[in-house]
Amino acid sequence: MAPMNGRGFEFLEGFEKRMQIVAAVDSIVNRGNRRMDIERLFEPGQLDNIIFSVLVFIMERTLAEDEECTMDSIAAFVAGILPDYGLDFPAQAVRTLTEYIIKDILQNGGEARYYPVMRYGQGLAPVRIRLIDDKLKEGERGYVTTYQLTDQGYDLLFRTKEVEQEISFTIEELKLRELIRRKNYKKAIGQSANLVQMIRQKKNDIRQFIQKIRENIYDVDIQEFERLVSSTYNLLEEEYGIMKEIRDMIVLSESRLKEEEASRGYLDEEMRRARSEIAVIRRNINTTIDEQQELILERHSLARIYKETIADSFSLSLARNYDFEREILIPLERCRESVVPSLWKLLNPLFRPNPDRKLNLLSLFERQSRLRQEEDSVEGVAIEELGEDTEWSKIKRMNEANTEFIRSILEFAAGKGAAYRFGELFEYLKEREDIIDLLTADDLIFKSMLKLYDLNVIDIKAWKEQHDEVVANATGELDVGFCLYCIEDKHPDLYGVEKIEITKPDERVFEEEISSRRGDVMFSRRVAISDFVFEVSFA
């Protein structure tokens, strides 16, 4: 504050605190997001009163235990106070008004609202204004939003009425000191009892405030948190000092009473009553001091815990962030066509890992086990085949298997007449002993299934219209056109199917134990694949 001291403007120290209240009031009085169709229904100032009343209602609800403050309860409250303004709206209009007050005004449409506040010596800086906060709770009928005051909200409301209580707390103490001095003990008993109540109330408030910090740890700036904790702590210490002073005075009063008793040899009735009243005051004051001490200790440890939690949460987020608009949004608007297919990479880091995509590699590796090994004897002499021939016969086998697979899809569709799952088809194929080994060898059926899913659709109608020449499939990979051509030879109507769409509507998985023979070794493994759906349209 050196610059101010130099100019003699010390009275501006802490000026920002005054402005924060102005900022909070401004957020209501000069509210943004005004909807004139609603505002027009009120006389000047009426809505300001209603909004403040809603704030008080939210405070009341959040201070009370077991009471939830929802949009419904606020709307009921608004409906209850509207007659006081000479207004009468239908229920739906009250609901709209309530939503307008909560969402558009008090929550500023969900956006952060800032107000420039001068901190002399440091300059003008925006201060975020947020009077209420909300929490999502999962209820029986989906999510329920409940509302409560933020610390700023409490601050504003306390200063608009409870501030009197804050001041009266100190005045109360002063008054008590004076009363003891004047020996008006009767009244002092009530006041000391009030002090106990007030400190307990204060303890509650502080606990609630801390709870709020715990729940909204990301919304609290660590410096702000420290400032709040230490200022409350200072306040408590100061009060603790005053209370101690009062107790000292009671001790003094008691010793004076004793002196009087000793010098006179007795105490008159009034003085005896005074002594017993002082004892009550003393007990109350002691309780107050104990409560305060407890509170101070509690705050010490809580402050440490919260500081650690906050430091933990913030340590990483304090790392520098890039400008989202400059680095992502604008490049997205300017990106070349060749980049478009790669844009998924932007979201990839936020998505859950999705390893099932790849035929569930994990389960393939995980449960594969050797069942048994037959004798090692060499059976005759292996027929040597040229690599090319071996390759060709393998391709031929795969083509046949794929054709059989597609034919079965069509045949099963025709028989079923409706959409079906891959699992159902597989069960059907399992009964066809002549082809199931062919289909499961090298996981062909599963790979082809994924390929089909990749294609999304077998559009037979379009194929019929377009195909005029067929190139023999020389790769052995699933070529639906080639398969249809082969099937058409024996089944010219292609089972009456026009189109088959392959979808994955949910996360259902089909699992199957597959046994196979490699040479003289038997293997068993478990395969898991999404249980795709075949949706069928007929001609």
């Binding site: 929550q107 449409g109 969900g110 956006e111 952060a112 909300d134 999502l136 989906g142 999510y143 939003t145 990301y218 919304d219 700036d221 939690t309 933990d312 949460s313 990483l316 987020s317 520098r320 962030n321 890039y322 989202f324 608009e325 680095e327 992502i328 949004l329 490049p331 997205l332 608007e333 300017r334 990106c335 070349r336 066509e337 060749s338 980049v339 478009v340 297919p341 790669s342 844009l343 998924w344 990479k345 932007l346 979201l347 990839n348 880091p349 936020l350 998505f351 859950r352 890992p353 999705n354 390893p355 995509r357 790849k358 994990l362 990749d454 999304n456 659709v457 769409e501 979808t503 994955k504």
Partner: protein
């Protein structure tokens, strides 16, 4: 249990759920802080192209952006729009998703999160405004400087062609936005509340954005992606 076993257990959990929470898996969460376990997991990260992001009450498995083994591929995006979706639809879906992230986390303050919730109507307004700028720009044929790519103009036109409000059909603006939102909701990144009128971020999204996604150190990777040189190509 050996450190390797613990590391594998953590990895399995992460692979299964994408995250490990302090609340539900307190023991494993603590074990993660064991340096031996951590270093085994670091090798997994290195070999399988992912990273583990730590937040105060959860850890997350984040596939590297080019990791198509553990993550998504473009066709998934298209499929999310519709089985017959075009690339432009996927582009729009991606843009809306990123725009939602921008509206939530675009602040330049120390805490980049700038809003608690976002109304769908507000999102439509903001998107209208943003796309209108692109359309205006393309209308001014004299503009020498190319501020928008031609593809993006197509995306803007696609958006502009959609009907306004009310109906939730796929061809309307609301329907298109909800479609993008449901994708994000499925990944546990946002919640759609208030009868589909409002969206809110989840703790997972807050954690990932604040502890990793927005980190300055990712700028190089993002730049490379837009330059088209980010390694693995999309499996289209």
């Amino acid at each position: 249990m050996s450190h390797l076993n613990t590391a594998i257990k953590i990895f399995r959990k992460l692979l299964d759920k994408g995250q490990l929470d302090r609340e539900t898996d307190g023991d494993l969460f603590l074990e993660f802080r064991n340096s031996e376990v951590r270093s085994i997991l670091a090798e997994f990260e290195e070999e399988m192209d992912f990273r583990i992001v730590e937040a105060s009450s959860a850890i997350y498995l984040v596939p590297d952006s080019g990791n198509s083994l553990l993550g998504f591929i473009t066709r998934d995006f298209r499929e999310w729009v519709a089985s017959d979706a075009r690339l432009v639809d996927a582009y729009l879906l991606c843009y809306i998703s990123m725009f939602i992230l921008y509206l939530f986390y675009g602040s330049r303050n120390k805490n980049p999160k700038q809003r608690e919730f976002l109304r769908i109507s507000k999102l439509i307004e903001e998107l209208d405004r943003r796309f209108a700028l692109a359309l205006e720009d393309s209308a001014q044929a004299t503009a020498l400087e190319e501020r928008y790519a031609i593809n993006f103009i197509r995306v803007a036109e696609l958006w502009d062609s959609k009907q306004d409000f009310e109906e939730k059909g796929r061809k309307t603006k609301v329907g298109t936005i909800l479609n993008a939102c449901r994708l994000l909701e499925r990944e546990n990144l946002i919640r759609i509340v208030d009868d589909d009128r409002e969206i809110r971020t989840t703790r997972k999204l807050d954690d990932l954005m604040l502890n990793y996604y927005l980190n300055d150190s990712r700028v190089g990777e993002i730049n490379r992606l837009f330059e088209g040189g980010a390694g693995v190509n999309a499996q289209d």
